[in-house]
């Protein structure tokens, strides 16, 4: 379903990757590995359509994502390096806004349940008062409510998470793959995710 053809990207005239090609079928997991500055975040942004590659293109079900725009965005969950939560709002408010923006509105009940699964209390406390790891959890709670989005692009999903939250994230990814979704993620640490096809793309 997701296909990259001859991707090439440079940052400050330094080539990050060139001639990168892969195809991702339903149920497949792709881990983007590489040291800091190898271009993991750049690659994920290119796959999400946030960055245009210098050469090559990304295709979704055979059509270039540049032409699809919102149609592609609707099929996608992208969790970037920044947790994408507003400091002034509570975790529940952030989550329900994020779901609404992505075109899959969630009921207050399901938002509360998603946050509970990630161990966040459903109190109206602004995210500003939460720790770094809790913010990360508030962002990841979106995965609980995004099971029907076929493609997940996760940039360092395990950063700043404790063991329990990391395990929960792994199990959510595993369940998504089993249901026919595809996941691309980047990480430094080893993650144990159950996947029929688990490929590693080494950058740099």
């Amino acid at each position: 379903m997701l296909e990259a053809v001859g991707l090439e990207c440079a940052r400050q005239r330094r080539a990050l990757f060139a001639g990168l090609a892969f195809a991702l079928a339903p149920g497949e997991l792709l881990r983007v590995a590489g040291e800091n500055g190898a271009g993991k975040t750049t690659l994920l942004k290119v796959l999400a359509g946030l960055l245009d590659p210098d050469a090559g293109e990304v295709r979704w079900q055979g059509r270039p994502i540049r032409a699809l725009r919102e149609e592609f965005a609707r099929q996608l969950v992208f969790l970037g390096h920044a947790p994408a939560v507003k400091d002034e709002l509570s975790a529940a408010e952030n989550l329900s806004v994020a779901c609404e923006l992505a075109g899959r509105p969630a009921s207050p009940q399901s938002v509360r349940e998603a946050l509970e699964r990630y161990g966040l209390p459903a109190e109206p406390r602004p995210v500003r008062r939460l720790s770094q790891g809790q913010r990360r959890r508030a962002a990841l709670a979106r995965l609980v409510l995004s099971a029907d989005a076929p493609l997940w692009l996760l940039d360092e999903p395990f950063a700043a998470l404790d063991a329990a939250a990391a395990r929960l994230t792994e199990s959510l990814i595993g369940r998504h793959l089993a249901a026919g979704g595809a996941v691309v993620y980047s990480t430094h640490q080893e993650a144990s995710i159950e996947a029929a096809v688990h490929r590693v793309l080494q950058l740099g």
């Binding site: 920044a82 994408a84 507003k86 408010e93 602004p126």
Partner: protein, 222 residues
């Protein structure tokens, strides 16, 4: 699509309500600038009446620009802008929602406060309506044009100065028309022509600016 835009407006308004400092600063700036002029110029009623429309309009324009710098900067910093770019609605629609939220916070209070500030200039009560109407039509145009500049200068060093250089020349027609309409009314002439052109500017900017903002956002997030 409309519900997504509504969500974004509600979110931005809620953020401002939780942290009213930034919005209040811009409004306070407007009030202070407009109040300092009568003190500096002196209590010469005819002179004050003559400068009132221009001074109030310039103050409104500067205060609008003051709050523009943060329009997309906060979203850019916390990553929510990326989610806007990947939202299920066209980016142009979301840009229009951002501008609407900005205007509700920074433009609408200016419209409401202007007649009150006009008291200090001894502006005739029958002109208050024209002043408020000209601001009501003009301040959204300022928000739309300014948002293009804010999107273009997003993430640049010295964005504030660059934004002013970029946007202020484009504000000039709005300023001339807005202040001019009140001056016309003060001279006993019909202000309709200026107000209609302001209205036309509003329609045109509402139709095209969101797409320009969207294009600018895509460029500056690359």
């Amino acid at each position: 699509m409309i519900s997504i835009a509504r969500t974004l407006v509600a979110r931005d308004l809620r953020v401002v309500l939780r942290r009213p400092g930034d919005a209040a600063t811009a409004l306070l700036f407007f009030v202070i600038v407009a109040s300092l002029f009568p003190l500096g110029i002196g209590a010469e009623p005819n002179l004050l009446r003559a400068v009132a429309p221009g001074v109030i309009w310039v103050a409104a324009l500067l205060s609008s620009m003051l709050s523009l710098q943060r329009l997309f900067a906060a979203d850019h910093a916390d990553g929510t802008l990326e989610q806007m770019l990947l939202a299920a609605a066209p980016l142009g629609v979301l840009s229009a929602a951002k501008v609407l939220a900005h205007w509700l916070v920074s433009g609408l209070p200016v419209v409401a406060l202007a007649p009150l500030l006009a008291l200090q200039y001894d502006l005739a009560p029958e002109l208050w309506g024209t002043l408020a109407l000209s601001l009501l039509l003009g301040t959204p145009v300022l928000s739309f044009i300014g948002a293009i500049g804010a999107a273009l200068t997003l993430g640049l060093r010295g964005a504030g100065v660059l934004l002013a250089l970029l946007v202020l020349p484009l504000y000039v027609p709005v300023l001339i028309l807005g202040a001019g309409s009140v001056e016309m009314a003060a001279a006993g002439l019909a202000a309709g022509a200026q107000l209609q052109v302001l209205g036309a500017l509003l329609v045109v900017s509402a139709a095209f600016a969101p797409w320009a903002i969207a294009a600018a956002l895509r460029i500056s997030t690359e």
